[in-house]
């Protein structure tokens, strides 16, 4: 799905989280929103997912105005920073949640839910953990379960907030490839937020460098490396 961010701005009381920003995200792209904390990247991601509403501006999905769509109507697979797995449910129930939450007429039968969850557990290469609770999983496993839960609803796009932030370096490298593979297999338009420039450069097709609620530069990783547009970008990617 093609996403168009059109002059989106966001105020929280008297503080400006986002100055009007515009950004086209091509269908099927893997995009990194890169910037330090307070740069507005997470706010922008939450606006795409419908968890936050912009003070002004529009969001277009495949050319149609989606600004007023509720979070449920967005059908965005969202992976939260600390994964936000439902701690009182097993891994199976976590992944099945979105399917069970559907209105009765769209809800798949129990056998179909079983089949889909099993398939997703295979996709994240954790077929044996269905009956465990989140607090019995490692950080890397939790991240993959959160990803499977987001994919279970057959989302129109995938949004990830610092998906590797809470993991140690080795697991992080491993899971980067995992996300890349899932993206390539599903073809979903994917946007992830990170403050780690290596992660953005290695993983994304398109990197959006943000600072102080503004977009500093948009480009392919190699172009941003070769030709940083502003002193901020140069300094940030050198760090």
């Amino acid at each position: 799905m093609h996403i168009e961010i059109d002059e989106i701005a966001k105020q929280f009381g008297s503080t400006t989280a986002l100055h009007p920003v515009s950004l086209p995200i091509p269908s099927g792209a893997l995009v990194a929103l890169l910037g330090p904390s307070g740069s507005g990247k997470t706010t922008l991601l939450r606006i795409l997912g419908g968890l936050e509403f912009p003070s002004s501006g529009r969001v277009l999905f495949d050319g149609k105005d989606a600004t007023g769509l509720s979070v449920q109507e967005r059908q965005a697979g969202f992976v939260f920073q600390s994964y936000a797995l439902f701690r009182h449910m097993t891994v199976f129930e976590n992944i099945a949640y979105g399917l069970r939450a559907r209105p009765r007429r769209n809800r798949p039968p129990e056998a179909e839910i079983q089949r889909r969850v099993t398939k997703l557990l295979e996709l994240i290469q954790l077929p044996q953990i269905a009956k465990r609770f989140p607090n019995q999983l490692s950080g890397g496993q939790r991240q993959r379960v959160a990803l499977a839960r987001a994919l279970a609803i057959e989302p129109r796009m995938l949004l990830l907030d610092e998906p590797f932030g809470a993991l140690d370096a080795r697991v992080r490298k491993e899971l980067r490839q995992g996300l890349r593979d899932i993206h390539d297999n599903t073809g979903l338009t994917t946007v992830f937020v990170t403050h780690d420039q290596d992660e953005a450069m290695e993983l994304a097709d398109l990197v959006v460098v943000m600072s102080m609620g503004k977009i500093e530069q948009v480009g392919r990783p190699q172009d941003i490396r070769a030709r940083p547009a502003t002193p901020f970008v140069r300094e940030f990617i050198d760090a």
Binding site: Q75, A76, L85, R87, Y97, G98, A101, N135
Partner: protein, 294 residues
């Protein structure tokens, strides 16, 4: 740090205890103080109540509880608890929800307001209800004329109990809900769940233990409330006298077996709720562990 700091050659193995642990003597003294206090202040009074109730034999105790007034008091107390506890559970959840999930002006004021029943004397609360709904007030006069009196009747007792027990549920829930944050609820919303479904399948299971504690405390207090109820009930024997009020009246009339029998029943009700809570905790120990922070 120099290497000398790590020179352990003169350390005698086995002589060292963890830094956060007290010495053996200190531990024994502390435990003794705790147990002694518990025995003196909690167990002894409880034992005395049961002993006094059974002073003239079990039959005398049972007979005193079988009287019309005694049965009326027990029924009234259970009825008041059965109304005020669910009402306060709903109020408490709503208040905790509003306070922890949203930011708005006047939030601090609302929190103070929730605590008000803890800081105001129950007698004052009862008097306020009398002034507001008594026969001499505008609303009260009209209500009495319409055949729906509040003061010296069941509605007044229920209102007083609700007021006094209002903070329990909210106070238990607020810290738990603050600690858990909004992330799980947001996740459920992105997965397509409606607000009500999120509450039912995510919020409620996460707060259910805190809710249970709050409800149990609220219930214990609702059944045991004396001051506020004494003012609004009018202490009409067989009609508006709850268990605590009946106990006081019987005691003042030197009917000690009857007074202590009812006191024993009241204490027993509290012990049953406590046992219920422990049994639930025991049965759901694994689930309880899972809902803690991971």
């Amino acid at each position: 740090m120099s290497d000398a700091a790590f020179d352990h050659t003169d350390v005698v193995p086995g002589k060292w205890r963890p830094v956060a642990e007290e010495s053996r003597t200190t531990r024994i003294v502390l435990i003794a103080i705790a147990l002694g206090g518990l025995a003196l202040l909690v167990l002894a009074p409880l034992a005395v109540v049961f002993a006094e109730a059974l002073a003239k034999g079990a039959w005398a105790a049972v007979k005193s509880l079988g009287s019309r007034d005694a049965r009326s008091a027990i029924q009234l107390t259970l009825l008041v608890a059965a109304i005020s506890v669910p009402v306060n559970a709903v109020f408490g959840i709503a208040a905790a929800w509003v306070i922890t999930k949203f930011d708005f002006k006047g939030k601090a004021f609302l929190i103070t307001l929730i605590d008000l029943p803890f800081s105001v004397s129950p007698v004052v609360a009862g008097l306020a209800l009398v002034l507001l709904f008594g026969t001499n007030s505008l609303i009260g006069g009209w209500l009495v004329a319409s055949g729906f009196p509040i003061i010296f009747a069941l509605p007044g007792i229920v209102l007083a109990s609700i007021f006094v027990t209002f903070p329990f549920v909210a106070r238990e829930l607020i810290p738990v809900m603050i600690e858990q944050g909004r992330a799980e609820e947001e996740a459920a919303l992105t997965l397509g769940a409606s607000g009500w479904r999120v509450f039912r399948t995510v919020t409620l299971p996460n707060i259910k233990w805190a809710l249970l504690y709050g409800v149990l405390l609220c219930n214990a207090r609702a059944m045991g409330e004396f001051g506020a109820v004494a003012v609004v009930s009018g202490k009409i024997r067989g009609q508006t006298a709850t268990m605590p009020i009946t106990i006081e009246m019987l005691y003042n009339e030197y009917l000690s077996v009857a007074a202590f029998s009812m006191a024993a029943v009241l204490a027993l009700l509290a012990l049953i709720t406590l046992a219920l809570k422990t049994a639930l905790e025991w049965r759901h120990a694994d689930q309880l562990a899972a809902t803690r922070r991971h």
